[in-house]
């Protein structure tokens, strides 16, 4: 059981996405400063949109769409960071064989 501890970790991360519909919709620090200091208009639209604003397109219920977007992102980042780690980990033991 112990070697599968990371599954529990991933499940905790996925559970955190369930809270995402409760997140504050207020502008974040940089957005607030940009609005207050009058340069928010400088922001340009992205050249394409995949899952903009953390809402999965095509899902009617916004809370569900937000959670689904969160699950997609959490799994993609998990795979990317795990893959990077697996690719880069030190391999002294195998090199000596």
């Amino acid at each position: 059981m112990k070697r599968k501890w990371w599954i529990a970790g991933l499940l905790i991360a996925l559970a955190v996405t369930l809270l995402s519909p409760l997140a504050s919709a207020w502008p974040d620090g940089l957005e607030r400063v940009a609005e207050d200091k009058g340069f928010s208009e400088d922001a340009q639209d992205a050249p394409y949109e995949a899952i903009p604003d953390y809402v999965l397109p095509g899902v009617g219920n916004e809370a569900v769409a937000t959670i689904l977007a969160g699950i997609v992102g959490t799994l993609v980042v998990f795979g990317l960071a795990y893959g990077l780690g697996a690719l880069l980990r030190k391999r002294e033991a195998t090199q000596r064989d």
């Binding site: 955190v16 997140a23 207020w26 620090g29 940089l30 940009a34 340069f39 992205a46 992102g73 998990f78």
Partner: protein, 212 residues
Amino acid sequence: MHIPDGFVNIPVAAATYVASGGSLAYAVRRTNKELGEKQVPLMGVMGAFIFAAQMLNFPVAGGTSGHLIGAALATILLGPWAGMLIMTSVLVVQALIFQDGGLVALGANVFNMSVVACLVGHYAFTWLKRLLDEGIRGTVISGFVAAWASVVTAAIACALELAVSDTSALTVVLPAMTLVHILIGIGEGLITVAVLAFLAATRRDLLQLRPN
């Protein structure tokens, strides 16, 4: 603190791409030398948790919200080099899939929230922990300060980039960004400490994986 395209000019975007690229190349080399077998899944779990936690904006004063960056947390658990790779994974996915942070500005966002935040988190944590005790109390206090400092310095780096890009005057944007992130940094510190305390109670061995 994700900079959208249009906030940084091309020279600043290019310079931060180069600085981030160089830092990541070094981070790859160090990770290649240091990362143990058991840390590989922890990199995945950390990235997943940080991405999810970054979605949870918490309100701070005056109609403003903040969210975790997570660089100090990743650095405390895995060291600054693996930490940079984790943070960059999060930022790249946010930019490419979620249109959070611009593509031209990605180098700047990686520089602020990955390179700067991880290095500041690393030095603040290791220096403080040496001054305090080795136990969980020292870890918690050092972790809080490191998390707070990583957010404030990332905000200062962001403000400098906006000023050099002529998006806003330095005398305007630097105090504004610093002040609001002094508050947001408290949230960063509290979440970081909560995770460290949770790990100390459940999986204390994971707190000891960090390379020196």
